[in-house]
């Protein structure tokens, strides 16, 4: 099982076992990671699963897709170059150890 590492505002690390094929958001919500809400269940409709992708992974994860772009622009408090909606990041074995930072607010 690939692992995803969530780093919350206070610097605390939370390591979650994810299923390959599911989204980073789904793994976070099921495991109760604070600060990842995911109200719409991964439909790119709520913009409440915003994360900042860790530097080591930004190339392999890639940038926001078209669907996500407007939601990030309009729906999140502090969009940065490494902003993604975690419902749009699919967990794969290659992304094992993926590190994402949880923003101050959703």
């Amino acid at each position: 099982m690939p692992k995803v590492v969530f780093i919350t505002l206070d610097g605390a690390q939370r390591v979650v076992d994810a299923h390959a094929g599911e989204s980073v958001m789904a793994a976070a919500v099921r495991n109760g990671v604070p600060g990842i809400i995911g109200e719409c269940g991964g439909n790119c409709s709520c913009a409440t699963c915003h994360v900042y992708v860790g530097d080591d992974f930004s190339a392999s994860v890639g940038g926001a897709n078209d669907m996500e772009d407007d939601l990030l622009d309009l729906g999140v408090a502090d969009r940065r170059d490494n902003s993604r909606l975690s419902c749009q990041i699919k967990v794969t074995d290659e992304l094992d150890g993926l590190t994402v930072h949880v923003p101050a607010e959703q």
Binding site: R30, N31, E39, N43, C44, S45, L74
Partner: protein
């Protein structure tokens, strides 16, 4: 001993209420009880990804059971509460399960949801006539669908159309029968209804608005054909009924709570007995946009928002449920996103390309922005949602120009508008 809070209904609303209580610092016991044999899960994918077979139930869990246990939330599955009794009018009381077990509580929350409206027609009890509300419903449907060739969907609402889209994508022959003269009539304007009719027809679905099912016929107790009100018979080895839901009000009525098409609650999720809260599809509430008139909102957004409100009420804080409603529906490659409530509109503006399947419809009443239906235009959806959340507006005349992004057009609501 402190009996804590009993939340009846291990639904999206029930789960959220439990989690929000803990988040608010509640330390007393919390028991979440549901009649389904599963941990609380997301329902929307049941008519989409789950039905297609591209996800499994465990991946739809709203919280893993061990995560709930770590939060000291007691989850009881496979148990139905049959009777509720309040002591001296509440908030404390007792609950009795169908199995005869008694549970006591200090405070009570009802998140009991709704059940599918049953089809009333001769033959409606044949095998192969299915409903879609629970994970078990979806699992059965998924199995039956793999062998089916001809699928008849009764009801052209969101559930019916999403199920039709899945069946069609699997190459089945699909007919949608809708009694009203247009699809999704309760949620969208005629222009959007017509778009969905045409979109399904383009993809090979036989859509029959203004038509009822008068009887179903079968062999060896298994459905084979459906008779329509115009006298035609359509072959059907699988029938999916999606004709709306009925809120579960039996327990509320036992307690003497006001019910009118749902359990009546105020903006703070309080029932007519202010010591008892309720949230989700089972409730009717003041319209969160206008504050007047009662509405029943069947959506994840409302379940979550109202459950948070109910948790706040139980912990002595007043947090009204006045979030802007939003909703989505996935059919084929069409993503519909709705923000606001369009009921009572007197004008609408179409933006974009209906034929090209990327457009939005903005709704207004007396010049005030009410809502958007956005098909494959998430930017328009998000801009209207943001405007409504801020109490701002977007001029109807300006919105029609697709050349300008809606987000550039958000302006503060004019005084008196």
């Amino acid at each position: 001993m402190d009996a804590g809070t009993l939340i009846v209904g291990a639904s999206q609303a029930g789960l959220q209420l439990a989690v929000s209580l803990r988040d608010a610092g509640e330390t007393a016991p919390i028991t979440l009880i549901g009649e389904e044999p599963h941990a609380p899960y997301q329902r929307p994918p049941l008519s989409k990804a789950y039905l297609q077979g591209s996800t499994e139930l465990e991946q739809l869990w709203l919280r893993a059971p061990d995560v709930l246990a770590n939060s000291d939330i007691s989850l009881v599955t496979g148990e139905r509460i049959q009777t509720l009794v309040l002591k001296d009018g509440g908030p404390s009381g007792s609950a009795f399960t169908a199995g005869g077990q008694m549970m006591t509580f200090d405070r009570l929350a009802l998140t009991v949801g709704a059940r599918p409206r049953r089809l009333e027609a001769p033959g409606a009890d044949l095998d192969g006539v299915t409903y879609l509300r629970t994970a078990d419903d979806a699992t059965l449907l998924r199995e039956l669908q793999s062998d089916a060739e001809s699928v008849v969907v009764i009801g052209g609402g969101f559930i019916g159309l999403e199920a039709a889209a899945v069946a069609r994508a699997q190459g089945k022959s699909v007919t949608v029968v809708e009694a009203a003269d247009r699809l999704i009539g309760r949620a969208v304007a005629p222009v959007v209804s017509e778009f969905y009719r045409a979109a399904h027809v383009r993809r090979g679905v036989d859509v029959r608005p203004g038509t009822r099912v008068t009887s179903l016929a079968g062999k060896h107790n298994r459905v084979q054909a459906v008779e329509l009100s115009d006298g035609t018979w359509i072959p059907a080895d699988l029938v999916i009924v999606g004709i709306g839901v009925v809120p579960r009000t039996k327990l509320a009525r036992q307690l003497g709570l006001d019910c009118a098409g749902g359990i009546a609650v105020d903006r703070y999720a309080r029932t007519s007995n202010p010591t008892v809260v309720a949230a989700g599809d089972c409730t009717v509430q003041p319209n969160p946009l206008t504050g007047s008139g009662q509405v029943r909102l069947e959506s994840v957004q409302n379940a979550i928002s109202q459950a948070k409100t109910a948790a706040a009420t139980l912990t002595g804080r007043d947090v009204p449920n006045d979030a802007v409603p939003w909703f989505w529906s996935d059919q084929y490659n069409l993503k519909l996103q709705i923000a606001g409530l369009s009921g009572g509109h007197d004008r609408y503006v179409v933006r974009g390309d209906i034929e090209g399947e990327a457009f939005s419809v903005l709704y207004y009443r007396e010049g005030a922005l009410l809502a958007v239906d956005a098909v494959n235009t998430p930017g328009d959806y998000m801009a209207v949602r943001k405007a409504l959340t801020q109490g701002a507006t977007i001029s109807a005349d300006a919105a029609a120009d697709k050349g300008v992004a809606l987000r550039e057009l958000i302006v503060p609501q004019a005084v008196g508008a």
